[in-house]
Amino acid sequence: MPLLSLSNLAVTFDTASGPFKAVDGVDITVEAGEVLGIVGESGSGKSVAMLGLMGLLPPSATVTADEIAFEGRDMRAMSGRERRKIIGKDIAMIFQEPVASLNPCFTVGFQIKEALRAHTDLDRKGRHHRAVELLTAVGIPDPERRLSAFPHQMSGGMSQRVMIAMATACRPKLLIADEPTTALDVTIQAQILDLLIDLQKERGMGMILITHDMGVIAETAERVIVQYAGQQVERQRVATLFDAPHHPYTSALLAAIPERSTGRRLPTIPGVVPGQGDRPDGCLFNPRCPKADDLCRSVMPHRQTAGLGEALCHYPLNPLVV
């Protein structure tokens, strides 16, 4: 039984100019102890899908799905009270901007202990002890003293460590990390990624890592989902994705990375991600795709087989040689 299983998740926002489907047909399964990467550019709906799962979207959003099951329990049928017992305890999330995610009015210790107070039956002393233990685990020096520090007294890297300590406070089974290192410097990013992977291995957590950085995916994830304009356009193992992408978007995205280019000019993807007003017919990538033909412009492609990266494309690249 997978730890988390989502199928056909869609998120629709009610906007002034009509409903807008930000996420469409998203399927995700995560096993315990596995790292799943989700990549995509801004506006591809990667964060929105996860926020929808966590119930953190504003009232203007409608989340629908055929299945949202955590450890085999259907989360759609649950009461709010029951769901809150899982969210924050068994499923925890780390956000992109550590400094903005901490409350500036409370000490770091208070905020970590708050999670423990809500989800465990530890007493005051027990909570304090556990908070110190958590800060030690995420590599913050002098944790006793740091508990009474306010967020503004800490650097970005330190704040992200605190966020990780908070998220892992109740030993979650699934950790969702939404661009956990985007706001950080490279050497600090390396430290935080190492820390997350160490924690994940040590506790056998399932982890969903959302990022726009292909390098981060290559270093950490086992399976990867490429998202474009709210749809999952490709699902593959990381080991093969970089050599043999099957969807033209994945291929173009990889080619645009300066590190992988050879000439003075980078291959680019013309145009921009379609927004609410300019959704094309057929395949959503067709206006930017070099291979698009009339079929692509009129008919929505179906999903290919696993050997073709489950690509959402009529003409997948790198077909297997039989």
Partner: protein, 326 residues
């Protein structure tokens, strides 16, 4: 190659007020930076936040004058006491900022944004200004009808194009690019990097490219200057720097950058700790608390940039040939 920018022991000091009864503290954001930028080349400045790269950019664009040392730009020398002929130089050096959302006035139309440097620095008529602005728009790949629109109607990549149009309208010789693509998505980043390469070829611009993204730097730079806590620690041609990084900090920085190759994972030099505070820098080499090769000499003396060759390094370990195994 003619040197277009020469920095000679340039320092910048910010005063930090600590309240009524405390003496003000001097924070040296940039310390004794000496380097040369040749005409038509791209010098990349890399380092983590707080290493002084943006302060350096502010001095190069004459937003601030150096507190110590002298900066020679296109034959004109600027020092703290003698700000020199800055007015003329202002049109020689232009800057593109990191955040295209914050760098454009939301209440001005694109045309007005691009024409503003002309209004301040030239005596062109309104019609001439408009014509120049439309040429600049075409130059950066925007259409003439964009002239009358507001910044909020554009995407991040297009806004960065507007900022670039504004920077090139005075026909500068030097463009300071302060993290021009770090706020953009990969596919848009590639478009902007290509545009910058086109402009450099067409207009013969010299770029000072500030970035923390080493894979972007590898693609655009001719030479790279690595900074740590306000000081340059290594200056090298781009191929040499990536093939054979000398300074331990450069090595750590390179190994920390995630490679887009799943087979290459796990060969990382782990740096412990964070950047020390520039208010109270460590004695000796400023990198010594995080350096795997540091010894007693590093903790007492400060290494200077070596003079010889195209690669210049400020490190005792490199000088003495100490290696990680020792």
């Amino acid at each position: 190659m003619r040197a277009i920018v020469t920095a000679n022991n340039v320092s910048q000091i910010y005063e930090m007020r600590r309240g009524l009864f405390h003496k003000a503290l001097g924070l040296k954001a940039v310390k004794d930076a000496s380097f040369v930028v040749g005409e038509g080349e791209t010098l990349a400045i890399v380092g983590e936040s707080g290493c002084g790269k943006s302060t350096l950019a502010r001095m190069l664009t004459m937003i601030e004058t150096p507190a110590e040392g002298a900066l020679t730009i296109d034959g004109v020398t600027i020092t703290g006491d003698n700000p020199g002929d800055m007015k003329k130089l202002r049109s020689t050096v232009q800057i593109v900022f990191q955040n295209p959302y914050g760098a454009l006035n939301p209440r001005q139309k694109v045309g007005a944004i691009i024409e503003e440097p002309l209004k301040i620095n030239t005596r062109l008529s309104a019609a001439e200004r408009r014509q120049k602005a439309e040429t600049a728009l075409a130059e950066v790949g925007l259409r003439p009808e964009h002239y009358g629109r507001y910044p909020h109607m554009f995407s991040g990549g297009q806004r960065q194009r507007i900022a670039i149009a504004r920077a090139i309208i005075l026909e500068p010789k030097i463009l300071v690019l302060d993290e021009p693509v770090s706020a953009l998505d990969v596919s848009i980043q590639a478009q902007i990097l290509n545009l910058l390469a086109d402009l450099q070829e067409r207009l013969g611009l010299t770029y000072i490219f500030i970035s923390h993204d080493l894979s972007v730097v590898k693609h655009v730079a001719t030479r790279v200057m690595v900074m740590y806590l306000g000081r340059p620690v290594e200056i090298a041609p781009v191929a040499a720097l990536y093939a054979d990084p000398r300074h331990p900090y450069t090595r750590a920085l390179l190994s920390a950058t995630p490679a887009t190759d799943p087979a290459a994972k796990g060969r990382r030099i782990r740096l412990t700790g964070e950047l020390p505070s520039p208010i109270n820098p460590p004695a000796g080499c400023s990198f010594n608390p995080r350096c795997p090769l540091a010894d007693d000499r590093c903790r007492a003396e400060r290494p200077e940039l070596s003079d010889d060759g195209p690669t210049r390094v400020a490190c005792f370990a490199v000088e003495e040939g100490r290696s990680a195994a020792a």
